[in-house]
Symmetry: C2
Subunit: 238 residues, 2 copies
């Protein structure tokens, strides 16, 4: 007997759930069987089931809740940005991803987002305008400003309509968040930097709304590289 399960009981659980997802037996909003049932059905220990569920939870596929009722248990949610953020953040921490590569990837994606938004006549930037207004407020601290900045860039990615790019943008941002925060302390005149960033944001959004794809792409590139070099996160050799 070649032991079909090979090894790794938790992997069989993961594969079983993935199969259920692929073949449509499970979908967003559905509830997984209880850990004890899965354990019995698949012939593995409950701890192995839990290891698999933990992976799914961290990757943003399910949400777990204690108690009873329809909201309890493990439920498929498929919220990708959380998992992407965790993955990228950990890989950067483990030096699997150099910071420069993360920044450059962000550049590539944001570039594409701007171009796509500029050439899409159906775009709706009302939410983005709201964030811009919020950022124009006086007296924002650097962390507050950066939080709004993250929100703005994510909203742009979301508005472009591509969920994968939006999730990746959120993840890339999270991965470098702590470094960005540290970098902001290195900037001497924060108020000057803030007003520069404000102006650049308005310029980008204006260019997008004017449908000028190439202009908005260029502005986005300058905006991002400008800040990162100013914060000393990336060599200015671009």
């Amino acid at each position: 007997m070649p032991e079909v399960t090979a090894a790794r009981a938790w992997r069989t659980v993961l594969e079983s759930i993935e199969r259920d997802l692929v073949e449509g037996r499970l979908g967003p909003g559905d509830r997984l069987p209880s850990e004890r049932d899965l354990s019995a059905d698949l012939g593995v220990g409950r701890s192995s089931v839990r290891e698999a569920l933990r992976v799914l939870e961290v990757m943003g596929l399910i949400r777990t809740a204690t108690g009873s009722g329809p909201q309890a248990g493990a439920i498929v949610i498929a919220a990708p940005s959380g998992g992407m953020s965790t993955l990228l953040r950990l890989q950067v921490a483990a030096q699997g991803f150099p910071l420069a590569d993360v920044v450059q990837t962000r550049l590539v994606l944001e570039d594409a987002v701007a171009a796509r938004l500029a050439s899409d006549p159906q775009r709706d930037l009302s939410g983005i305008r709201g964030i811009l207004t919020a950022m124009d407020a006086e007296g924002l601290t650097a962390p507050e400003f950066l939080a709004l900045d993250a929100e703005l860039h994510y909203a742009l990615a979301e508005a472009s309509g591509n969920t994968v790019i939006a999730a990746m943008m959120a993840g890339l941002r999270t991965a470098i968040e702590s470094y960005v925060r540290e970098g902001s302390a290195r900037i001497e005149d924060w108020e000057a930097m803030a007003s520069r960033l404000r102006a650049e944001h308005h310029g980008i959004v204006d260019a997008i709304e004017a449908g000028r794809a190439d202009t908005s792409r260029a502005l986005v590139r300058d905006h991002i590289t400008g800040y990162y070099t100013a914060a000393g996160l990336v060599p200015g050799d671009h």
Copy 2:
């Protein structure tokens, strides 16, 4: 007593290890303490430690091995593409990512890869040429051909020097692999398609080596969209 640990013992383990990574106490090649030691040090059960390690393993941060000696135990490896592939594949399966978004993201990234390679005089495409030669062989089945195709596109991303983009490309490819395979069955004259793809590959690599960024980008776009529409994976409304 406000119970500092809040909840979720496994999360404290994850956070502890992440802190060790960020602050340099752990790095690639290092060995983690044994599960039993971590359990005792952090004051949690061994099963909670295992749940955290499982997450790290699936995300590609560590590798575990049984037995004794320096190679046994959990070792930091930071191999990002595996985790990225799992994440994207699962999210697509759970309908968190529409197929069209995945394809489009691949387009964006590959576009950037081609442009970057074309404008980089230091590029080394010798490995890519080797794959092209392998793909020129006669009598390849569709799965064999597609495997080489995946290898080729990944090699291009790798050659561009951006590890994040390379990992994302690998992940995106994995996420749609099964659909691509199915799609290949829908193509009536596979031999004709194969030679068309071969010609396009050569054209792309030639354009890159000639340093013609815009041409290579256009060729890449046509190459990818062409195949996906032919395989019926994406509406032809691009």
